[in-house]
Amino acid sequence: MSAAMDTESTYSGYSHYSGHSKKAHRQGSRDRHKSPRSKDGSRSEKSVTIQTPPAEPLLGNDASRAEEGQDDNWGETTTAITGTSEHSISQEDIARISKDLEDSIGLDCKRYLGLTVAAVLGLLVFLTPIAFILLPQILWREDLEPCGTVCEGLFISVAFKLLILLIGTWALFFRQPKADLPRVFVFRALLLVLIFLFVFSYWLFYGVRILDSKDTNYQGIVQYAVSLVDALLFIHYLAIVLLELRQLQPTFTVKVVRSTDGESRYYSLGHLSIQRAALVVLENYYRDFTVYNPALLTASKSRAAKHMAGLKVYNVDGPGNNASGQSRAMIAAAARRRDSSHNELYYEEADHERRVKKRRARLVVAVEEAFTHIKRLQAEEQQKAPGEMMDPREAAQAIFPSMARALQKYLRTTRQQQYHSMESILQHLSFCITNNMTPKAFLERYLNPGPTLQYDRDRWFSKQWTLISEEAVTSGLQDGVVFVLKCLDFSLVVNVKKIPFIKLSEEFIDPKSHKFVLRLQSETSV
């Protein structure tokens, strides 16, 4: 693994590439490899490839290389390239591939195991009362005391209660699992254990007292079955309260901060375990947070690099790597140096603002003008001019060229260009035309970065999450708990605070007590 760690340190620079060029890298290097690249990259070892001689530039024309690779004498002129070359996949890409692979296999077994156990138990529980009633009839029918109306009434009540139980269980439990959590739900497990013990004890009693002794009091047996069904309904009520109702009342306020750009949100939660709170936070993350855009982070990184780039430390007093002394010296020197990077930042940001506003103005004007060329045909008019009619897609394609350039420039300035392909823009345009949207409604999607859900899944950068917590993830939320939800590129730091105890007192104001006086300041001339 140490060799792999080496490559990781070499790649510290490359992992800061924007997603766009990294993808180009990956695709380029994939084109070059002759062997079919299946997703077997789950082995996180270095990839050794055999290629034509590497005399190309770094961000080279990857597409053209694919054809050049068909060299006849590649056997003689090959070079073995290890993981330290620019053309193989970086460590991060391998990690990403392996995680994508784990997505589809592995943890499903645990989920299905839980589901099957619950289903079997449920079926057993459902059939138990019926078995209680039927077994005496089957086994010792002749000995049973006849019980007429009372038993029939009880049969009806058992039937309806079972029906209600069935509908209730279907409503509460038969749902698509929407998430895969690291640990078992404590309450669900407790409930299953409780049900199992309960039914087991009933069967035990039944087996010992009724089956063995062949009790003839059929009414008593039926009433026993009815009591079982009643108790099951109460357990169902308990399940609702424990699993659904208890966490509805908000008790905690949770602050979620994204580590890369500091965007933060607050949410209200009830009594939940840490893993369920993490689930709620993630569900809201996809809706509330703007999409993670690595292109926006390059500016601050280059500034950070410039801060430390200007200073070099030379050890004059002799050998010996006094690392802490060096860093302290650098910090002191950086503090003393009068650098004007704040000035640069201010002017750069002001300039960027102006440029964005200008491009935005051009874009809005272009789109408004483009939309004026389209008019919707009413039903009567549709018969009159059949020749020129266009469906929404064609209409979109017709007006798109006039606004394409302005839109492209705006997206480039705000660094959103990789989130919108031409196809997606055309689709959105035809969608807007179909639904009679104004130019402003069409542009709403492009002017500001939207939540992650709005974009294509490939661009999300955030599909596989890890919950990092100092407390056990099944323990409940407490005041001051901090946990981190980490994905490959960034993490969400979650801070839990308790909603304070609110002391509310009342005060009665008599409606007749609202009285007023005039406050004068008159001036008299004498």
Binding site: R519, L520, Q521, S522, E523, T524, S525, V526
Partner: protein, 139 residues
């Protein structure tokens, strides 16, 4: 109008600069105004504000916003009050011996505009006076 009588004699430093006022020890000033006859009325040439029935917080001239005394809010140019040395912002403490610190606005007006009086003698205090004396006492 009659020639001004001396009661006490008109001190020359009534209109003097601040420097000479530093010689005084009390913060009050006596001003004698001779009313001017205009038609049927005798006017003094200034306006008053304040009074115990008024809102003291709206008084722009008072230092303490709970002071309900009578203040001079305007002095007409060239009128008898200006000639006598009354300034805008002065607080009137006495008029002809009658106290003006605890009167209503209307009572103050009546005391100043008595028909048979031609001369009113005011005891006023002024913030600039008070500050000047305080400064001279401290230095």
């Amino acid at each position: 109008t009659a020639a001004p009588r001396a009661w006490p004699p008109r001190r020359p430093w009534l209109r003097a600069g601040l420097g000479q006022l530093l010689a005084r020890t009390d913060t009050e000033q006596r001003i004698e105004i001779h009313k001017l006859r205009q038609g049927d009325n005798l006017i003094l040439g200034f306006s008053i504000g304040g009074g115990i029935d008024q809102d003291p917080t709206q008084n722009p001239f008072s230092e303490d916003k709970t002071d309900k005394g009578i203040y001079v809010t305007r002095v007409t140019q060239g009128g008898p009050a200006e000639v006598a040395g009354l300034q805008i912002g002065d607080k009137i403490m006495q008029v002809n011996g009658w106290d003006m610190t605890m009167v209503t606005h209307d009572q103050a007006r009546k005391r100043l505009t008595k028909r048979n009086e031609e001369v009113v003698r005011l005891l006023v205090t002024r913030q600039s006076l008070q500050k000047a004396v305080q400064q001279s006492m401290m230095s």
